[in-house]
Structures are given as C-alpha cells and as structure tokens.
Symmetry: C2
Subunit: 226 residues, 2 copies
C-alpha cells in the first residue's frame, strides 16, 4: 500500500521505518523537503537529525505534505497535536478525500510547561476536529495511547499483551486500520465506536504522562482486563 | 478502624459491606438517617432500597454525615461527584481535619444525558477541589477507575491482575490507603504522585464509559503493563 506519514519527528520516523519494513511504499510528508534534507543536527532528545535518518532509510520517500498525501492510499498523522490542523490544510482536502486518515496524534499543549494540558477535551476531541474539517476523509483514531516504539513494535513489551483502540465513523476504514495494527503486532484491538470516542483515548494522556513520571520509563501500556 | 462511608448509593453500599466484612467498624453517613431508614423502594437499577440493605447489614451503622465523620478515623467519599462538596460541607471541616479522606468519586455530570461530561478536568480535578476546600484533611484519590464490585472484590476479575492508583499529598495517608487496598485484594497499586495526579485518573472516565458500552459489561479494568 502507498502510505504517507505526515510528520518528521520521532513518531513519524518510527512509523515510517516500520511500515516500510512491512513492505509498504512510504513517503514522509514535510513542509519543505529541501530544508528537511538539510536538517543534520540531532534533536533535543539526542536522536539523529531527520536528514541522517533519511540517509539511513533510502527506501522511504520525502515529499511536501500535499505531494505525499496525493500519492497515498492511507495517510498517517504523526504530527504534534498543535500542528495537526495546519499540516492537514497544507496537505489539502482534495488529497485526503476518500482516504483513510490514521490519526495517532494527541492534543497536547506544552506551552505552559510540564505536565502539558489538552487543548481540546471533554465535549470534543482532536479526532473529531479533523473529521469535521475534512468530512470526506475517513478518520480513524488509534495508537495514541502508547509510546512510538510500542506503536510499531508492541512485542517488545510483555510480548504485546496490552490493548490498542480504534475510534472512527467508517467501519471499513476501521477494519483497514485494525489490519494494519495486527500486522504491526497488536494482539488486542478494541473498537470503541464512532470518532467521538477519541475523547476517551485522548483523555488518557494525563494519566499516561503521570505514569511516565511515576514509573521512570515510557515503555508501558494499558491492557483492558476483561 | 472506625470508618465513615459517605453516600448510600450502590458504591457506598458495596464499600461499607466489604469494609465491615474485613472487621472495620463502619458507619454510613447520610443527610437524614430517619428518612434513609424509610427508603424501602428499589433504585432505578433494581437494587434493593437502602433501608432493606441496612436491615441486611445490621453491623453497619447509620448516622448524619457529620456524626459519621466525627466518629471516624478514615472517611470514604462514595458520593456522586456532583454532590461531593456539598456533602463534605455537611460533614464539617472539624470532623475531617487530620483524617484520611479516601475520595473514590468521579466528577461526572449526567445533566445533559449520556455520555456524561466531566465538570472539572484538565487543569484541575475533584480531588484537588476537595483538598483545597479542606486543607487539614489528608485527601487520597483511589479506586475511581473501576466498577464498585471490582473496587471491593478485585479477585472476581482475572484474579485481581489489574492496576489501581493512588494520588495524594500526604505519604502516610497514601500508605494507609495502600494498606486498605491490599486488604481488599488489590495486587498492583501505583502511586502516581501528589493530589494533582487525580486529574489523570478522573480523566480515564470517558474511555471507561465508552469501554462499558463497547464491551457490554462494567466488569473490566485497566492494567498498566510494564
């Protein structure tokens, strides 16, 4: 499948690399590909710059948000939550229409420091904002309740014995995402219902962040025991 | 230990009965004990009225909120979230000072129908509101992430192989609550930190409610796999 991964950060890199390993044709979307290819400096966490990462992953393409989305059958939003709607605007409604838009972002606002607050919650969600802004896109919220490394390689924790969730209005789009999650190694996927159920998983972020602090590692995840 | 359970609903009944079974001296607090003893009609869920429940549990006392709290070493808030602060006002600050106040309530507002919204979240929590209103009380948030039956008898699900959480500013109060949770059968208790971390567990309610709907049962709980 042709997949666009919008976002060049740690999450975008992890998802793009793993989807390419699974045999998909992956194009990373960015604002300015030429500028992105020049970013060789490590990020604030000490990860290699995106330019080095691209050199290490010659099978992964790089294009503008619009070109990446135009050529894709499925679009992954691996963006900072605060940038998601702006990036989708750059991708363009025509390039999203009819496509599965897998939203793995979270509405985190770090502008007032740690812990971040949610910039939308309770009566609305980022997933719903995206679906409302792009009614012809088939938005599915998933994977936003865990660290990027667990998203793409769940078996590194308890042999993958934890839960992931999908929320979305389009059953066929959710089925496609469940297939992708299963291919990534997710063993237990719960369909929560329509896109408004993204409120539930996005609102798990505050406890996730407190757990990260309490446990001293981001390598944990939630299992719905039942 | 002398324990006051404030609230006569299903949660209060479950907690009071189990704590009495564990050998504690339990007094249920209510607005008007005489009126409570007259409430024989079943509730909306078909559970027996509180008067029948009291007749079935002769070892459990009944008193006003203030009298129940005055005689207690530990106070459990098994109240509707919307009633919690009013009930604490009736209990009285003097009767709460220095005591462990175990808050198991959630800030759910059902006034606009299902799903309920949270009447406080993101930058604040009900746990923090209680602690601010009663600075001499030693507030610990716990047990609010699961159904009442699992609160008091975790072993009925997966032999108790799931997680409960504590949040609070007073380490000794949290240790006392962890001891109580362990006596109830909770095998995995994570200390999230100070009372502001109650935001995290209270904000798990939206996904809990959507899971209840998706799974068709309230008998499930979250395990933090790590």
């Amino acid at each position: 499948m042709n997949i666009a991964v919008l976002g060049t950060g740690m999450v975008g890199q992890a998802v793009a690399a793993r989807l390419a390993d699974l045999g998909h044709t992956v194009t990373v979307g960015t604002r300015d590909p030429q500028a992105t290819r020049g970013r060789t400096e490590p990020d604030g966490m000490g990860n290699p710059g995106i330019a080095s990462w691209l050199a290490d992953h010659p099978g992964v393409g790089l294009a503008t948000f619009a070109d990446a989305a135009a050529g894709a059958e499925l679009v992954v939003l691996a963006t900072l939550g605060t940038a998601t709607l702006d990036i989708l605007d750059r991708a363009g409604a025509d390039n999203l229409a009819g496509k599965v838009v897998l939203d793995i972002s979270n509405p985190l606002d770090f502008s007032a420091g740690m812990p971040p607050r949610l910039f939308v919650d309770n009566d609305d969600s980022l997933g719903e904002q995206i679906q409302r802004a792009y009614p012809a896109a088939r938005v599915v919220k998933a994977l936003n309740t865990m660290n990027a490394h667990l998203m793409v390689d769940p078996h590194q924790l308890a042999a993958g014995d934890f839960t992931s969730f999908v929320s979305g209005n389009d059953p066929a789009a959710k089925a496609e995402v469940v297939g992708l999650l299963t291919a990534l190694g997710h063993r237990d996927v719960i369909d929560l219902g329509d896109i408004s159920t993204a409120r539930g998983t996005e609102m798990m972020m505050p406890v996730w962040i407190r757990l990260w602090n309490a446990l001293g590692t981001p390598t944990f995840s939630f299992k719905v025991v039942r």
